[in-house]
């Protein structure tokens, strides 16, 4: 009986639900939901202000709401090996798209079937990035980390192989080895990165779309990078050398598919000397770009630091297998159509409140040669110079900038190739006051007469007038001024002065009342052709912005402000033959917004009214009256 009771008890206990937890110790999951609303008083539909400038762009537009989801999975296989994967839905489907399947069953015609707009409107889940990482401790004083798979390429610098932009952070894949000696005093990185078939190279590709190639070959295109850093307590010394190499098939090789000499005979039927089938295909480099920098950061004192960066960029282009993007693409090309070699130098000194009175200084000298180009440099979300520059998003030493896939409230970047000058900044921080003043003088190594912009140097078609990043359009159908990549001009003799003042004060009102102002003046003169004074350009650009932010309750902050621009440009655009005109532009912008953080939810709203009045001497005046807004809701867990 006792045994029976014990058996029954045992069975009943076994039948009870037991608390079981999945083995998640090796997993780390992170999810994110992001929704964006975009509206403007126009008739375009989409949830991205500036999409792909390359045709066909099927997601850009100013009116819409869309959501994306991402899931990051980190896992640990052992104490030394971990893995990662990120899956994310494609952004571009609007809520109104409802049951869009992503097919194009009826060709390109819009229809009501729900099978019409393609995958960009279908929120499909895509594997966006993966990596496996192994830590290999050779000795207690020497460890290596080997990463195979995705990387944001942040181990180098914006001059060489740049950190890729946030939306592309897992797209770059390769093999990466990072090592540390001792207490981190010496470290190194080695990388072999798969070149993106689009954007790194002439014609923004590693062959695809190049009219001179019948069979673009991109599966053996790589970039290589090496970095060594020595970092004693008083400074850091970093040497980086990179090489991007785009190879193509030797079409004279009889083993290549579509070879010009498949029978090893010329047009007359004579055997070609040295031509022999060996079941192996040879390659040539279509384009190579090598960039090397040496950077020294000296921090001998807490309040004093000095930085020096020296770089050399070399570009080699095989004209036999690279079509001329300058001549054949209206001057829109990320490379000059020739072999190039040039230098870059940057010296920077910072005195961080040396007298302990809140006053700091920064000085910078910069020189970027006219033939410098780094094809795999940072394309945005980085800045190599101290100055506020001509546009506000930063300066980068490449023609390969990315001012696309952004919204109207995001900054533009500009190319600083050819810039030569100095910046001085004084920064005063006292209690709740921050005040800084900048003065920059720029000459241009790209100044030249009769520069060949027909065959050699890309001028990006539009080199004239101050750039309007508020109302930008790639095709320049609305006279938006200079392309931020346009550093070459047929005739240029230019110099620029930039003066900026920023002020910010926080008052003790509610959760803090922040008042911020910015004033900016740009004096830009270009004598252009030395044969005439009729084309001499002088631009005086004035900008003033005032913004007030107020924290109302925990997590809620509102802001309101306005900006006024006055651009006075003599001989803004035209030709010597047709003449030039003096244009005047004034813009007024009023904006307000709020941010709200609530229990892990982040909401942001921004709305602006923009009025632009452009009086043009030789063209019809232009008027803009734009209301537009953007909101986002983000939840992470």
């Amino acid at each position: 009986m006792r045994r029976l009771l014990a058996l029954l008890l045992g069975l009943s206990v076994a039948g009870l639900p037991v608390v079981v937890s999945a083995d998640i110790a090796n997993f780390d999951l992170a999810g994110r939901l992001y929704t964006k609303w975009l509206y403007r008083n126009n008739d375009s539909q989409g949830v991205l202000t500036y999409g792909n400038p390359f045709w066909p762009d099927d997601i850009a537009g100013d009116n819409g709401v869309g959501t994306e989801f991402e899931l990051k999975i980190f896992g640990r296989a052992s104490r030394y090996v971990e893995g990662y994967a990120r899956i994310q839905s494609r952004f571009g489907e609007m809520w109104q798209d409802w049951w869009e399947s992503g097919e194009r069953k009826y060709g390109g015609d819009v229809n009501t079937s729900g099978d019409s707009l393609g995958l960009n409107r279908a929120s499909y889940i895509k594997l966006r990035g993966t990596w496996v990482r192994a830590v290999i401790p050779f000795a207690s004083w020497w460890s290596n980390t080997v990463t195979i798979g995705s990387s944001d390429l942040g181990m180098f610098n914006p001059w060489t192989i740049g950190k890729v932009r946030y939306i592309d952070r897992d797209n770059g894949k390769g093999i990466f080895i990072g090592g540390i000696f001792g207490d981190g005093i010496v470290s190194y990185d080695l990388a072999m990165v798969a070149l993106p078939k689009l954007y790194v190279g002439p014609w923004w590709s590693t062959g695809i779309g190049d009219p001179s190639l019948t069979r673009p070959f991109y599966s053996q295109d790589w970039a290589y990078g090496a970095k060594i850093t020595v970092a004693p307590d008083w400074g850091t010394f970093t040497a980086i050398s990179t090489l991007t190499n785009d190879v193509e098939i030797d079409m004279t090789d009889p083993d290549a598919v579509g070879s010009l000499y498949i029978t090893c005979q010329d047009d007359l039927g004579n055997p070609i000397q040295g031509c022999e089938k060996d079941h192996a295909v040879d390659y040539f480099s279509r384009y190579m770009n090598s960039v090397t920098t040496l950077e020294m950061q000296l921090d001998p004192l807490d309040w004093f630091s000095a930085n020096a960066l020296y770089g050399v960029a070399v570009g080699r282009l095989d004209k036999q297998i690279t079509a001329n993007g300058v001549a054949q693409n209206q001057g829109v090309s990320p490379v000059a159509y020739k072999d190039t070699t040039d230098l870059a130098i940057r010296h920077r000194i910072e005195l961080a409140d040396p007298l302990d009175i809140g006053l700091s200084f920064q000085f910078e000298y910069f020189y970027i040669g006219e033939d410098w180009n780094s094809i795999f440099a940072s394309r945005r979300e980085s800045d190599v110079l101290l100055t506020d520059g001509l546009v506000e998003g930063g300066q980068l030493p490449t023609l390969n900038l990315a001012n696309e896939f952004i919204d109207f409230d995001e900054d533009f970047v500009e190319s600083c190739i050819g810039w030569h000058g100095n910046t001085a900044k004084a920064l005063f921080a006292w209690e709740a006051l921050d005040l800084d003043v900048e003065g920059t003088y720029i000459q241009y190594n790209t100044n030249a007469q009769n520069r060949d912009v027909d065959e050699t140097y890309p001028d990006f078609l539009h080199s004239e007038g101050y750039t309007d990043t508020d109302l930008y359009d790639y095709a320049n159908t609305t006279d938006r001024g200079r392309d931020p990549r346009s550093v070459y001009r047929r005739n240029q003799d230019r110099e620029t002065v930039v003066a900026v003042v920023n002020i910010r004060y926080v008052f003790d009102v509610l959760e803090g009342l922040e008042l911020a102002g910015k004033g900016k003046f740009i004096w830009d003169r270009d004598y252009r052709s030395h044969t005439s004074v009729e084309d001499d350009y002088t631009g005086q650009i004035w900008k003033a912005r005032l913004k007030m932010g107020l924290g109302i309750i925990d997590g809620l902050k509102v802001e309101v402000g306005g900006q006024f621009d006055w651009w006075d440009e003599e001989n803004r655009k035209g030709t010597l033959e047709q003449g030039y005109g003096d244009d005047r532009t004034w813009k007024a912008k009023a904006f307000w917004g709020l941010t709200y953080n609530y229990e892990g939810l982040k909401f942001r709203y921004y709305m602006e009214y923009l009025h632009k009045d452009q009086a043009r001497e030789r063209d019809v005046d232009q008027l803009w009256s734009v209301f537009r807004s953007k909101a986002s809701l983000e939840v992470n867990w």
């Binding site: 990662y84 990482r133 207490d183 970092a231 307590d233 006292w430 709740a432």
Partner: protein, 276 residues
């Protein structure tokens, strides 16, 4: 000639008179270099943004500026902003998150005896704190929201600076003196701890980047995957003069043990204050 000289002299005098005067700090502590390894075993994450010295406290000072107090925490390497904090309403840096605990009465059990969520520390009963100043890259709005959500019981003691900024290697926070309960007095205790800012923290952590058993791309290593290890990379310990012995004292203070049967129930380390 003399008139011009007199004018210049007068101008110089006016300018120098209008400049703020340099005053001795109310509190000044030093910390040894290369002790940003918590209990002696913590390792930095493997991503290159975590440069050596990023979390290595070398000095801490408190200055009085009118009705405000300025807190300065200096680290070994130049402070950078790799994640562009201005784009998320931040303060010009991305990685560091310094917390300054203040014991204003040095009485047993008086004040809060636990650290902010995610730090995984307690305080010795004679060193419980009344105020903690947060020097975070996160904007005030996010910080307030996080504190309200995750540290409501401690909120009364949390001081969020009205301004947080970077100067070279120094994090600087401007705090209203009245928010701290007045100008620091002799006998107050101080504990400066450094952890790393995490914009996407665990549900219960106050913006803490985790220290795990093994270092990951954005995770520190050398600790535990459970919550039994202090998430402190560096701290200032007595006597606060930057002596070599302080490194050992820090390692000892942060040494943790995890109970295998109930890791999250393990006793947390108890941190000491510095009473300069």
């Amino acid at each position: 000639m003399y008139a011009r000289l007199a004018c210049w002299t007068l101008l110089a005098a006016l300018v120098s008179a209008s400049l703020p005067t340099v005053a001795d700090p109310l509190v000044s502590l030093k910390d040894p270099t290369r002790d940003d390894d918590g209990p002696g075993v913590f390792k930095y994450p493997t991503d290159p943004v975590y440069k050596p010295g990023t979390f290595d406290i070398t000095a801490f000072e408190v200055h009085r500026k009118g009705a405000n107090l300025v807190f300065k925490v200096t680290v070994r390497s130049r402070i950078t902003d790799p994640w562009d904090s201005r784009s998320w309403d931040g303060n010009g840096f991305s990685l560091q998150f310094a917390q300054i605990y203040v014991d204003q009465d040095h009485k047993d059990g008086s004040g809060f005896c636990e650290g902010l969520p995610g730090l995984n520390v307690k305080f010795k009963k004679e060193s419980c704190w009344e105020k903690v100043v947060l020097i975070s890259p996160q904007g005030r709005s996010r910080l307030k929201s996080e504190v309200r959500q995750k540290a409501a019981a401690l909120e009364k003691g949390v001081v969020i600076p009205k301004v947080t900024r970077v100067k070279g290697k120094t994090l600087e926070a401007v705090v209203k003196a009245r928010d701290l309960g007045g100008v620091p007095k002799k006998g107050w205790g101080w504990l400066v701890v450094m952890q790393s800012n995490e914009g996407y923290p665990d549900r219960n952590d106050l913006l803490t980047r985790k220290v795990n058993e093994y270092a990951g791309k954005h995770r520190f290593g050398g600790g535990s995957d459970w919550n039994c290890d202090p998430q402190v990379l560096d701290m200032v310990v007595a006597p606060g003069k930057g002596l070599d012995g302080e490194k050992e004292a820090q390692h000892k203070a942060l040494a943790f043990t995890c109970n295998e049967a109930d890791p999250d129930g393990s006793p947390l380390v108890e941190l000491p204050m510095v009473y300069p």
